[in-house]
Symmetry: C2
Subunit: 236 residues, 2 copies
DNA sequence: TGACACATACTACCATACAAGTATAGTGGC
DNA sequence: GCCACTATACTTGTATGGTAGTATGTGTCA
């Protein structure tokens, strides 16, 4: 694992490790299938094994690593099945969220969403993928919060991480930023018009984008996708 | 905490503690707001504090306890808001599940669901609430698995736990078993007729049952519901 | 009597040591 | 060269001890 971030003494160690490891996993700095050792991570961060162990437990609960007793802790491989499962859950929830929001939308919320879209367009012009992903996150979070369902976004965090790894692989352009922005825009415009079914359909379309992108991404990174991806493809 | 289950030496301690504590919390053997101490639980189970700590971390990830550093670990209080949030998520996901299932239903699946309904009717005649709850669990799990979305049911487990505490409080009859069985039956019959919208509506109705039951339950157990329940009631 | 300071008890967090299981490498016998 | 056995290295899981922060109780003083 490269680029070990310094730890802040004022904060408990374990949560910091969770964050650092989660980021490293999502941003593909540690690879799917890679082994992470309590002892080694502890050595790298200059701490004891105990908080590393705690971080591993949390990451395992989040579905990002798998702890195999006596054998090791492994970064969970990416499978198409997992990605599609995550998408299914996200779609179910986020479609419900925009359904609620369409009926309680206000001009102020629309304005805020449009401001986020403007920011996204600026990031796209600069080909600033990390910046765009942060704005994408803010966009979806704002939708949930505005609908009074911030809890739903929080709950989706581990689900999202599965898809985020694929998102980082998308830097190659499997999902061009203008496509994503256009989809975001369609959601906002349907909401502005209080068109519940339109907003739901737009969100569905947006979250299905990854189904389009996934085969190309997997083909481009066959080493990163698990063998069971093949079976999942036929189930699509 | 009463009725400490014996630990099986062949299995790691921490997962057993998770199960025991989760059950105790869901079945209201430990009360909302109650403090759980690493040291005390370790003493009661005859183990060291370490696996207790690990169990607490997992339960905290599942939203059942809150770990406050230096102060203690507390069973999360029941709030109407949390219950309703859980219901919202369950509805989003389970409606999506039956939507998919309506289009891929088979006579064998229908037969299995009807068999579960028969079992539920038998449990209801005997007023066997624990037995009924287990069959309710099996019913919902079967729906998800049959839809090819077993992952969704697994993912709902922590969400469900929030609602299950309320379910245990329902023994008093706030949701009579015949009402629940009728709702289950409506779901199955709509699925059998491949009526997607009918199945979705029936599932919605079923999961909204708790909205009907919640005020009565909270009124009956005011000590178990957190004060913020009042605010959530107005948001309903 | 009330306020403040100090002592004590309690807590979770982290460090270190020990234990049990698994995987791999090395050695000896056939 | 192959196979079986043993030794070693590695892993996670658990036990124990130390640390820092928080809460509560007690004693003193105005």
């Amino acid at each position: 694992m490269q680029d070990i971030p310094p730890l802040r003494p004022s904060e408990a160690i374990a949560p910091q490790l969770v964050r650092a490891l989660r980021t490293a996993i999502v941003m593909m700095h540690v690879q799917p299938g890679q082994a992470l050792s309590e002892t080694e991570i502890a050595r790298q961060f200059g701490v004891s094994r105990q908080p590393v162990r705690e971080a591993f437990i949390k990451l395992a609960e989040a579905g990002l690593v798998e702890i195999r007793p006596q054998r090791g802790t492994f970064v969970v491989p990416i499978t198409r099945r997992d990605v599609m499962n995550a998408r299914f859950i996200r779609e179910a929830i986020e479609v419900a969220v925009v359904g609620v929001l369409a009926e309680r939308i206000t001009p102020a919320i629309v304005a805020e969403l449009r401001r986020l879209l403007d920011d996204q367009r600026r990031a796209a012009v600069k080909d600033d993928w990390p910046g765009f992903l942060a704005l994408d996150e803010a966009f979806h979070r704002t939708l949930a919060e505005s609908a009074g369902h911030a809890h739903a976004w929080r709950m989706l965090d581990p689900i999202k991480a599965q898809m985020d790894r694929v998102r980082y692989l998308s830097f190659s352009g499997a999902s061009p930023l203008p496509v994503l922005i256009k989809q975001h825009t369609a959601i906002v415009e349907a909401l502005a018009r209080r068109k519940r079914s339109g907003a739901e359909a737009a969100m569905r379309k947006h979250l299905r984008e990854i189904l389009t992108a996934l085969p190309a991404i997997a083909a481009e990174h066959p080493d990163l996708f698990d063998a069971d991806s093949r079976a999942a493809a036929t189930a699509a």
